[in-house]
Every structure is written in C-alpha cells, then in structure tokens.
C-alpha cells in the first residue's frame, strides 16, 4: 500500500512537505514515482540516491499507545526499512515515505501470541524452510492483531507473503519435564542440571585459566546437556508445564538452585504460591479462564482462580496470557481461540490486572519469553515497525484491527480482506463512544453529507475539527 491509500479520513500532517501533500490525494501514485518526480527538481546528489534505496513508512495522525506507558494524540511513527526511526508529534517525513493516515484511530504495538499453531500452514518445525505465509489462518491472526507468534519454541513473525525474516528465533524456549508424576525423569533432569552446571563452572574457570596457561585442558562435556547448558547460560529459556501447587514449588526450587528464570505454562495454582514463584524469578503463561476445582481433600487454597494473573503479577511474576486454544477455531464458538488474545487478556483484567498490564501480557511479556523483546512488543525507536491501527481500545471486544503493519509494511487491511470487511464497515460509526456522542452533535450542526464520492473529502474537512474538540474536552 502506497502513499495516500489510508482509506480513513485522509487528513495529512501540516509538517509533511508540500510535495507529499499533493501526492496524498493521488492514491494511485506510488512513492517511487514520487521520488522520480522529485528528482527532476532536486539535484540528483548521491545522498538523494541513497535515500531512495531506503524504504520509509509512516503512520500519521494516530492516537499512539506505545505500550511503554501513556499515550499521545496526533502522533507520527516513522520507520526506515522496517525499523522504527522516530516517534513523535512533529515528525518530518522524508520524501517518498509511504504514509498511512490513521485519522485519529488508535495505534498499538502488534500482539505477540506466546504459543500458536497452524498460523503458518501445516508447518510445525524447520520453519525457515516450511512456512506458508499465505495461509488464511495467518491473515485472520493479523486481522486480530497478532504480528508475532511462538510455535514449538520458536519465535515467528507474521510476514504475510514472505519467507525471509519469518523465523525470528529458532529456539527461544525448550520444554523440560520436571513433573513429580515422573520421578525418574525428574531425577535424570536434576543429574543433567548438576553435570551441566559443573561443566559450565569448569568451562568458565578454564576460560580464565587459558589466559595465563595456554595448555590448560578444556573441561569435558561428559554428562552435561547441551540444551541445559544453553538454559544456564541464558541463551534459551526453559519452560515447564505445571499447574499443581507442589509441581510449581518444585520448579521454583529447581530454578533457584541453578540460577535460571523458568517459564511456567499453565500455572493454574500459581496464585497460591505466587510469592515463591516471584522469588524464583519465574515467568507464568496463564489462561485466566482455566477452570479446575480444587481437590476436596486439600485444606490449603487450590484450584484455579480468575485472579491468578493479577496475583502473580503483584508478586513480581511476569505474566503472559494465552487463550485455551492455540489454533484458529472457526467451528462457531467465538472467543476461545488464538484469535481471542485480547478477550482472554480481558478476563485477566476481570481478575484484577490493569488494562495496561493485560496488554503487556499479550505483547511485551511474551516477546520477552520468546527472546525477541528487543524487536517487538512495544512501539519504540529501534524496534520493528509492527503496528495495529484500531478503531477503538484494543482491549475492547468490539474493536477491530483496521490495518496491521509488519516491518513497516501494511500487510492487512480489514476493508480489503474477506473475513471482517462486512462488519461495521463505516469506521466513523465504530469509534469510541465519546467520539460518537460528539459526532451526534456535530452531525446535527453540519449539513447532511452529499454523494458518496464526496464523502472522503468531507471527512478531510471534518477530521481535524473533531480532533480539536477531543483535545478541548480533555483539557
């Protein structure tokens, strides 16, 4: 999508150069053409040529919710070659920038699904060589805000129609079994940890020793486990599937003993041992709606709690939220599959998380667990330009993603795709209620809108007024 295709109100920042302004009303002109035309006027210096190679992309007129606390209106996010270059209110856009006019809509970082299945076709391993980024599931996931997804311990970017750069991290996490149900496995894992820790200690010592003694003997890897060495080094996160209180405490003790931060999936009774898990530096991946009744024989607290996520977070456990189904479920029961990340996180809010914390649980926290938080999860300079343009509070169940941007490229537009285009197609009618109330009054004062073809221009006129009004009210 090129310059001026933002099909919402086509308002344009005044700070944008006049050439750009002119182009914004010629939707068919591509940014490259623009560069070409410009060149005639500007002396074709080497710098200009260099600039042309860079791909600039900007979202303008946005209510930006960067995920780092707070938000600001009329914001611009500028990206260069897929990375965020600048965020601000007054940002000069380089010539040839592909502009997406968010027209007062909200912009959030792309969501991160900690675990998913079936988004990349039948692909479930060897992702670099197998992903199908044309899969309808992937498009639907983008339509529901997911731009990064974990699968089988790997971190993947939803780069629609591309295969380069999809695999962000091949081995972000590794699943370890430390279940009390399997005492033999538990013992063998402990032995591996012991041996690996010993090896790592010896190895570090050897590295020191080597400096003075060139002939120092490299320690033996005997009995150590390559994966666990990676875990202890912090290169790969160890994840455990544990729900039961005792199991959770077991993982916490293991982690404390060997000095690593475990990722605990399930963690249903985590709220009963939140303090211990917090002390162990654990991360939890929870489904707020999980339901298990506590055992009748148990005197202590047990079973699931809707407050699990909130309690864990209060005790310093970083919480990621996943729905109960990792795949896309179109069987008809809505709100329980991977597409319902925000719904599930919403139940986290119901249990006491703040809206912001719930959003973190489906953005930056899972990004961290997948080892890609330096690239995704928030809108920050230097990170990947993965954005969602939304027609309201992202956490609200009625909100739809209007556009999804991945690596500075619009890869999904609600109105151009099959799935949701028919639902509330008129974006003005779906904006947040305060806007809608304003609109009612404004609409009454204004003459009725003319023909459909004039409509867009009208919006241009109307838009900034509306923005001003909102600001007034805020004051």
């Amino acid at each position: 999508m090129k310059l001026g295709h933002g099909q919402l109100g086509r308002r344009i920042l005044l700070s944008v150069s006049s050439a750009l302004l002119a182009l914004s009303f010629a939707p068919t002109a591509s940014a490259q053409d623009a560069g070409g035309e410009e060149k005639k006027d500007v002396s074709a210096s080497e710098d200009a040529a260099k600039k042309e190679e860079d791909k600039w992309f900007a979202v303008i007129n946005a209510d930006v919710y960067p995920g780092t606390g707070g938000h600001f209106r009329d914001g611009t996010i500028l990206a260069k070659n897929g990375k965020i270059e600048q965020i601000g209110v007054e940002v000069d856009l380089p010539e040839g920038t592909t502009v997406l006019d968010a027209g007062g809509l909200r912009v959030y970082p792309g969501l991160v699904a900690y675990a998913s299945s079936g988004l990349f076709g039948a692909s479930s391993s060897d992702f670099a060589d197998t992903v199908n980024t044309f899969s309808p599931n992937l498009v639907m996931a983008l339509g529901n805000g997911i731009t990064t997804a974990g699968q089988s311990g790997a971190a993947l970017k939803l780069k629609r129609g591309e295969i380069e750069g999809v695999l962000m991290k091949e081995k972000a996490t590794t699943l370890l079994n430390f279940s009390a149900q399997n005492p033999q496995g538990r013992r063998s894992l402990l032995e591996k940890f012991d041996a690996s820790a010993r090896y790592l200690r010896d190895y570090r010592a050897w590295e020191e020793q080597k400096k003075s003694d060139k002939d120092a003997k490299e320690p033996s890897k005997k009995d150590s486990d390559a994966t666990i060495v990676q875990v202890l080094r912090g290169d790969v996160r160890a994840r455990f599937q544990a729900d039961d209180r005792e199991e959770l405490l077991g993982v916490a003790r293991l982690a404390q003993k060997y000095g690593f931060r475990p990722v605990i999936e399930g963690c249903r009774e985590g709220w009963t041992v939140a303090e211990e898990l917090g002390r162990a530096g654990a991360y939890a991946v929870v489904t707020p709606r999980d339901r298990t009744d506590k055992s009748e024989e148990l005197v202590a607290a047990g079973g699931t709690s809707i407050e699990n996520a909130a309690i864990l977070r209060r005790h310093g456990v970083q919480v990621a939220i996943v729905p109960s189904s990792k795949g896309v479920d179109l069987g008809g029961i809505a709100g329980r599959d991977i597409l319902a990340l925000t719904v599930e996180a919403g139940f986290g809010v119901r249990g006491g998380l703040t809206n912001e914390a719930a959003l973190e649980a489906i953005t930056v926290v899972p990004a961290r667990l997948l080892g890609v938080e330096h690239r995704v999860g928030t809108i920050e300079v230097g990170k990947d330009c993965d954005l969602l343009v939304c027609d309201g509070d992202l956490m609200h169940y009625e909100t739809f993603v209007q556009q999804a941007v991945v690596d500075g490229k619009v890869v999904y537009e609600k109105n151009k795709e099959l799935f949701y285009a028919h639902i509330r197609p008129n974006i003005d009618s779906v904006l947040a209620p305060e806007t809608r109330v304003d609109k009612g009054q404004e609409g009454a004062a204004k003459p009725a809108e003319g023909e459909a073809k004039d409509k867009e221009e009208k919006k241009d006129e109307k838009g900034p007024d509306q923005g001003d009004k909102k600001d007034d009210k805020k004051d």
């Binding site: 309808p136 639907m140 709606r289 339901r291 009744d293 709690s305 809707i306 407050e307 179109l330 069987g331 008809g332 029961i333 809505a334 709100g335 719904v343 919403g346 139940f347 809010v349 119901r350 249990g351 006491g352 809206n355 719930a358 309201g392 509070d393 956490m395 609200h396 169940y397 009625e398 909100t399 099959l418 799935f419 949701y420 285009a421 028919h422 639902i423 509330r424 947040a432 209620p433 305060e434 809608r436 109330v437 009612g440």
Partner: protein, 425 residues
C-alpha cells in the same frame, strides 16, 4: 440542556469503566424518567434494600438507563427504579456502588448444568419422552451454578439433552446458592425440550434416522396430545405435553442448519400453535432465518455465535447480527452450558456484538428477551417495579469480559458478594 447533562454523566461513567467503549455508547440516555425516589418506610416484617450505583440499566421497554441510578427493593421485589433518592428510611440496607453498573440478572434458556455435571441429562431409551422431567436431577447451588452466578446468570432453564427427539420437560430455576429446591425453582415443569435435526438423528437404524421420520415421530405424539385434549382424556403420560398445546407451557426446540430451522418453525408455529422458541439456530441457519422470522419464531442463539464455512464469500458471519438484520425481535442467547461455561453467558452476547450485532440489544438478549420468550417477564428480565429483585452489580459494561460481578442479588438477597466470598469468576 438536561439531556446533555445526562449524556456527560454517562460519559463519566463510561470513562470509569475499563473500556472506553460500551455497547450502549452513542445512544441518547433517557432523561425523561429521571426520578427522585420517595421511599415508604418499612412495615413490620418487611425487608428493604436500596442499591445506589453509577448507572442503572433497566432493560425495560424503553431501554431506560439511569445514571446515576437507584433501585429500591422491598421484600425481594423491586419497588422503584430511578435516578436518585436522598432520604432512605431506617431499616433499609443501603448498598453504595458509585462507579458500578447495575443490570438485571441474566437469563439462559438452554443449560444442562442443573445436576452439577453433564450427567443425568438424557434418557436414551425412547425416541419421545413427554413424561420425562429434569427436576429430579437438579442439585441447587452446585458449583457450576455458582460460577454461573459469578458470571451474572440468575435464571436458568435446565433441560434434558438432545439425545432423543422429545427429550422431556425442563425446570426453570434461579441460581441461588444456599437454597432448597422449592426456593430455587420458578417453575417445574418450566417448559418442554424438543430436539430436531442432527443429534437425535440416530445412526443405529431405528426409526427417526432421517429428518422426515423424526418429524413424524414428534408430530405423532403432538397429535396424540391434541387428541387427548379434544377427548378430555387424562392420559398422565401426555399431561405436560397437553399444556404445550394449550399454551400453558413454552417449548424450546434444539434445531440447527438452514433446513432444520425452517422445518422446526413450521412444525411448532404452523402445524402446532405453541409458545415456541428455536434454540441454537447455528451453522448456516442464518441463511434461512428470514423465513423463520416471518413465521414468528423466536430465536435463542448459541453456543455457536459465528459461522465461516457456509459463507460463500469467506466472511466470518456473526449469527446474531444476521438474525437481527433479518428482523428477529426477541433474540436471546444461550451457552448450552457446559458446552460454553455457564459463567460466560455474557461473552456470548459480547461476541455477537463483536461480529456485528448491536450492543444494547445483545444485553437485552440475555435479560428481557429470554424472559419474554418463556413468559416469565412478569418476574425477571428487567429492573422494573413489581419484578423479582434479581440484579447484578458490575464494575463496568456487563458484556465486557473485563467487567466483573461485584454483587449478585436474587429475590432481594445477596447471593454472591465478591468482597465477601472472593472472586469466583
């Protein structure tokens, strides 16, 4: 001027809610019924409750919303609803929820959790069971009901499963917790459950394997019931079924698919004049819904709220949105619990709303609509004087998954108090 004032107040409460957007946002809130309530003191032996809240959603015929709102309850019944009341006579318990929203308790017409599990819902011996009743299996206040209450559900129609064509008579009850059968039950039998299409079409080779024979089986027993009315017979096996045909009791019909719902509507509205509600209506049923609505059939949608496969255009269809678009006037939602957990009834409407249905209508689909469908709107479904005081205090818009139930009141008594009982859901 006053209208504006109310709108701004509503705005304030909107902002207090976790979501900036609410399902009713944009609707001008009624200012015509701004009431200063005057409360008569309690007489001897009377109990009284006053609930003050940021917003009171009544779900009455005019969709009145009071913001702020006050609800006065006397002896378990609603005495008045309005905007403010300053003087509360002695003896009334006063509950203050200045930031919260009060809405009617939710009603689910299609549930199977009365026994506390999925057991005891089917009697799979005969294809028609007009004598069968679920009431012996009911376990009032069981865990599933309790969680449902914490999700805002106060009235349930507990019914047999769809394993047989005429599955039996269900019981209408309230989700009271520390209660007895008599206290919990509104009506036993509360209505008939019939299953047409899919599930009762057994593959075992017995009669009724196809839709035609299935219809014959059901019509045959209907004809016998009608004949027994004409003959003045008192055949006990048909006693309850006669009440269906005399319209004393309603009937809920499990049916789905585009052909299924049309057959169902014809049988229960044209061939037999009954107070019938079509339940499920999922899959591609939305395609034939205009025909069904034209016959006057009431629809109770769920547990499936969306449909993708039957759309020729790759659209994700919001089933409720289609029913509403096609003119359904009394649409209600169900969970088919435990298919969808009972406590997620509100989510059924939220999802309908996400996929295109109007927000406030979808709240009515959980309150007054099902009450009307089953003829219990004189008691439940809205917060109006004279009705049972079944109300839920939410900390936000009821359909928003982020909103939690702070308090659940049934018949004027607090059945669930989050602060007191801990948050169950």
């Amino acid at each position: 001027m006053r209208a504006l004032c109310v709108a701004m107040l509503a705005l304030a409460s909107c902002r207090a809610a976790p979501g900036a957007r609410e399902g009713d946002g944009g609707r001008p809130e009624s200012a015509s019924r701004t009431l200063e309530l005057v409360i008569r003191p309690l007489a001897d032996g009377e109990t009284g409750l006053v609930v003050r809240c940021g917003k009171l959603i009544t779900c009455d015929a005019e969709d009145t919303i009071f913001a702020p709102g006050v609800l006065v309850v006397r002896n378990g019944r609603i005495e008045a609803a309005g905007e403010r009341c300053d003087a509360v006579p002695k003896g009334f318990e006063v509950l203050e929820f200045p930031d919260a929203t009060v809405a009617p308790g939710l009603v689910d017409l299609h549930t199977h959790i009365h026994s506390g599990s999925f057991a005891d819902v089917n009697d799979m011996v005969l294809p028609v069971n007009p004598e069968f009743r679920t009431s012996p299996a009911i376990v009032p206040g069981n865990r599933m009901i309790r969680r449902g209450l914490a999700g805002g559900v106060t009235t349930l129609f507990g019914i047999p499963g769809s394993g047989t064509s005429m599955s039996g008579f269900g019981v209408l009850y309230k989700s009271k917790l520390d209660t007895t059968y008599d206290e919990a039950v509104i009506a036993d039998p509360g209505g008939l459950k019939v299953a047409e299409d899919s599930n009762p079409q057994r593959e075992a080779g017995d009669f009724g394997v196809g839709r035609g024979a299935l219809a014959w089986i059901i019509q045959d027993v209907n004809d016998r019931a009608k004949a027994s009315i004409r003959a003045g017979s008192d055949d006990p096996g048909l006693a309850n079924l006669r009440k269906i045909h005399t319209k004393e009791l309603p009937v809920l019909i499990h049916t789905a698919g585009s052909e299924g719902i049309v057959n169902t509507a014809r049988m229960w509205r044209v061939s037999n004049d009954t107070r019938s509600t079509l339940s499920h209506g999922c899959f591609d049923a939305w395609k034939t819904s205009p025909a069904v609505i034209a016959i006057g059939m009431t629809v109770n949608n769920g547990p499936r709220t969306i449909e993708w496969f039957s759309s020729r255009e790759g659209r994700v269809i919001g089933i409720s949105a289609e029913y509403l678009k096609n003119g359904a006037r009394n649409l209600s939602m169900n969970t088919d619990s435990p298919v969808v957990p009972q406590e997620e009834l509100a989510l059924q409407s939220a999802m309908s709303s996400r996929y295109g249905a109007d927000g406030l209508t979808m709240l009515r689909a959980l309150t007054i609509h099902p009450a009307i469908a089953f003829g219990i709107d004189d008691r439940v479904g809205s917060l109006e004087p004279g009705k049972d005081a079944d109300l839920i205090v939410w900390n936000g818009w009821p359909l928003d998954p982020r909103s939690r139930v702070e308090l659940a009141v049934i018949d004027g008594s607090v059945e669930y108090d989050r602060a007191r009982d801990g948050q169950i859901f």
